[in-house]
Each structure stands twice: as structure tokens, then as C-alpha cells.
Symmetry: C2
């Protein structure tokens, strides 16, 4: 049997599901998404030594790649239903695929998603995930921020960076937001959706991701970094890998937001003037050499 077929059938096919929304068993040229509703769709690559270290256990490579991709659906106020998974790997082995498929299964258990298709081929380790979900009634775009909106993050910053540092010390205790990013639950994002004006997930660093909201919304922002924003140091605001939700909403919804997300932290407000002003808790302006992560 050829190797591609061997690994697909032994490890990946058992991770797939057939149900009303995904009626076709894998083994054809395409998968089918049965849907009478509009779909949100997003595709993300995780590359060895760029998005994860070469030493990382294949279980976490899988879980992390899926979480990073799924986070983009949540960032638009919806929830992931399924995904296609393309694996590029130099030399597949049973050991690697056993761990990797455990990561897939655990992710699917945690988020109720389905693997419905993909591709396996040779090359530098690179995991490409195309994830989709039913469009929610209200689509949350980056461009929806309004002047005087409150700016929130769904949780403190720095857990991703801390998780990576712990991994580097070979401390693998869970939870670890770098190894197994925890995303907002379906219930939370569903409850939050009506109150949101704009949102993005913090993947590349708070300031860079906020600049994307401000750019698309043609607005600016004023932020104050109180002690409750970062778990470790001010570097957490540009570190990325947190996969918390960064969102804006009208002041009148503050209480509702706090009720849905008790750990949410208010950072500041959206302004008309198109610049992002960051101050420390004493009101002193803070400057940053870089706003966040750039792969190049």
C-alpha cells in the first residue's frame, strides 16, 4: 500500500465524522458541506520553527494548529463546525501520527468540530487548516468599531508567552495557553455576539491586532495598561499567541459583557482620531518598538 494511503486510512480517517452537515465519508476528491446558510471560512498555516518549535510533541502541533485556525471563526462572532487539514511532513511515522491524531480527537471533543477532509504530502512540516462555521445572524467585522466603544480583551494577556517559556523549560503542566490554546466557548460567543461592534483574536500581539481594528474601522484608540492587563510584564501587549478575543462594544453593554465574560479586562476606548495612544497607569505615554509579530 502506498504510504500516503496507509497513514490517511490508519490515523486520519478514524478522526473524521459523517453526519447531517458532512454527509460524505472521506475517500473522494472533495468533502461536502451540507448547508442552507452562509458560511464563514478561514485558512491558516502552522509551520515548524516559525509557529511552533521543531521539538514540539505532535499532539500539541495538531491541537495548537486547529485552535489557532478555529480562533478566526470565533473572532467573527461565530463558532467552528468543521475543517479540512493538510499535512506536509518530511517523513511520516506511526509514532508521530498516533500523537497527532490524538491531538485532533481531543480538539474535536473539546470544541465539537469535525475533520472532513484534507491532504497528506511530503515537505517541511507545515499544518494547513481550513476551518468553517455557520455565519451568525450578526457578522462581527474588524471594521465595526464606533467612537466611544469600550475596548475589551476576554482574558489577561501573556498566557501564550508564559506557556511557551514554560515549554522551553520542559514544564508541560496543563493548562498551557501556548500548547493547548483555550478558546471562548460556543455559549460565550453566542451570548456575546449581539453586544459586539468589532472583534479580532489576539494572535500576533494586542497592539498589532488592535491596529487592524482601528485601520478597518477608520478610528483610533486610547488604552491604559493597568496591572490587570498583563500577567507578567508590559511585553505581553506585543507578544501574541494569546488567542483571547479583542472586541469593542457600546458602554451601555458593559454589564452584560462582564456577566458573560467575568475575566474580561477593559483596556480603553475607541477614538475618532486615527492613532493608538497607550498610557501606563500613571497616565504616562508608552512607546513600543514593534506592535507585534511578523513572520518575515
Amino acid at each position: 500500500m502506498n504510504k500516503e494511503k496507509y497513514f490517511l486510512e490508519k490515523y486520519l480517517k478514524p478522526c473524521t465524522s459523517v453526519n447531517e452537515q458532512f454527509p460524505l465519508e472521506i475517500g473522494d476528491d472533495c468533502a461536502i458541506i451540507s448547508s442552507s446558510e452562509d458560511l464563514l471560512i478561514s485558512s491558516d498555516n502552522s509551520v515548524i520553527d516559525v509557529h511552533f518549535p521543531g521539538t514540539l510533541d505532535a499532539y500539541f502541533i495538531a491541537y495548537r494548529a486547529l485552535a489557532v485556525a478555529a480562533s478566526d471563526i470565533i473572532a467573527m462572532g461565530a463558532y467552528p463546525d468543521g475543517y479540512l487539514l493538510n499535512i506536509t511532513i518530511p517523513e511520516p511515522s506511526d509514532e508521530w501520527f498516533k500523537l497527532f491524531s490524538n491531538g485532533i480527537n481531543d480538539f474535536n471533543d473539546d470544541y465539537g468540530t469535525s475533520l472532513i477532509g484534507g491532504d497528506l504530502t511530503k515537505g517541511q512540516l507545515n499544518i494547513s487548516v481550513t476551518v468553517f462555521g455557520k455565519k451568525s445572524k450578526k457578522i462581527i467585522k474588524r471594521s465595526g468599531a464606533e467612537v466611544d466603544d469600550n475596548i475589551y480583551i476576554s482574558n489577561k494577556l501573556g498566557l501564550g508567552k508564559q506557556g511557551y517559556e514554560l515549554y522551553n523549560k520542559q514544564i508541560l503542566d496543563l493548562p498551557n495557553q501556548y500548547l493547548k490554546p483555550k478558546l471562548l466557548s460556543k455559549e460565550s460567543i453566542k451570548a456575546l455576539n449581539p453586544f459586539l461592534n468589532s472583534a479580532i483574536d489576539v494572535s500576533d500581539g494586542l497592539l498589532l491586532d488592535l491596529s487592524r481594528i482601528c485601520d478597518q474601522s477608520q478610528k483610533g484608540a486610547i488604552l491604559t495598561i493597568y496591572d490587570d492587563v498583563c500577567i507578567n510584564s508590559i511585553d505581553d501587549v506585543v507578544a501574541g499567541d494569546d488567542y483571547v478575543l479583542l472586541f469593542t462594544c457600546a458602554t451601555k453593554h458593559s454589564e452584560a459583557v462582564k456577566k458573560i465574560l467575568p475575566n474580561a479586562v477593559k483596556l480603553g476606548t475607541i477614538t475618532q482620531e486615527k492613532e493608538i495612544l497607550v498610557t501606563d497607569k500613571e497616565g504616562k505615554k508608552m512607546n513600543f518598538e514593534k506592535l507585534g509579530w511578523d513572520p518575515f
Copy 2:
């Protein structure tokens, strides 16, 4: 400006389209597919030195990666509407992206497809394409072959291999099925669909791809390799990269098939016995060391 944003905005954004089916301009975490019908979806990676040579012009890298992926939609009796495109590249340059985006635009002009989103990141050159199209009324699966079905290919075999050999001699005259694979037109696949029992595209080699139809259909096949099957040599039946359609249909539809696809070649028939028997034109059994391509 960060490099990722620079290349996305300068070269890839102008290749995207906004229309009724794809209502969201790029710049958000997801794209939207507006559809009240079921979707066929498929994802394929093209990796440097595995699927294309490192010296290949970026124009052809793009065109070829898109055609290879789109071919999977046609293989299920439907037609591609749009795609997401993930580019992993070690060091992006204006020169490379100019050529690459020309390849995208020409593919979209030739097939009426839309680029609606994707990802750009760092790593070994690897182009991941997730393509989708509206499900046709009748889905053509690999599993649909019936005993006594005629087996056809939509065109002779070997044009992919010949195109690659010409490229290696730096003969770049078009048409070249390796550099710019020509797929079935929307009209042809639409007209052909009602007559098909099973289909697959010949990407990895005729015998390997036929074995996939036979496996899924729980059938076998008997083939005769007459002079009109291969353009150069018998190796063409295991070479792959042809992106012709391999399909089966009832004998009564032979005339209809020939009318829609005048270049189609009949190879043999589907049998109850689960083996693939290949004979030459004198009826002598032919054996092959390998059935087709395996990336590993």
C-alpha cells in the same frame, strides 16, 4: 508596514473579488461564502521540489497549484467557484509576487473563479489551495462504478509528463499541460454529469487513480492499452500530472460522451472481480512495478 501586510495588500488583495456569492472584502479573520446550496470543498498542497521544481517561474507555480486543486471539484462532476490560498514562502519579494499574482489572475480569467482569502507566512515554499464549488444535482463519487461500465479518459495520457520534460529542456512553449494544466470546461462537465457513474482526476497516475475508483466501488477493471491511449510511451499510464478526467458510464451513453468530449479515449470496462487487468493491443497481460506516484 509589516511585510505580511505589504505583500497581501499590494499583490493578493487586487486578485480578490467581491460579489453576491463572496460578499466580504478581504481584511477580516474569515471570508464569507454566501450559499443556499451544499458545497463541495477540497484542499491541496503544492510543495517545492515535490510537486514542482525549485526553478519554476512563480507564474506557473500559482497557475499550476490552482489548477491541481480545482481539478478535484471537476472530478466530482461540478465546477470550482472560488478558493482560499495559503502561501508559505522563505523570503517574499516584489518580483516573485508580481509573477505569482499574474498566475492567479490568469487562472481566474480562464476558469471564472474568485480568490476570497488565505494566509501568508514564512517557511519552505508551499502553496495550499482550498477550493469549493456548488454541489451539482448529481454528485459523482469514486464509489459509483457499475459492472460493465465503460472506462474513459477525457484526453490521452502523457501530456503532463511531456510538459515536464519540455520544461526541463527549457522549452516553455504553450500549451504545456505540466506548467498550465488545462481542465475540462464548465460546459463539458455540466453536459457530462448526468451520464457519469464514477469519476476521479488523473493526478497520481492512471492505474493508481483507477484503483481508487475500483476500491471505493468494490469492483475491478479490464483495460486495453491501444496506441491512442498514450502520447509517448507505456510509462504514461503511471506517470500522473495529466489532470484529465477518468470516468465510467453505462455503454448506452457512449455516443453522448463522444459528442461532449470528442478527444475522450475508451480504455476498457468495469468488472465484478476485484482486480485490475491491463493488456496490450495484442491481448498480452502487462505488469507494472508501481501504479503511480507516492509523495513519500
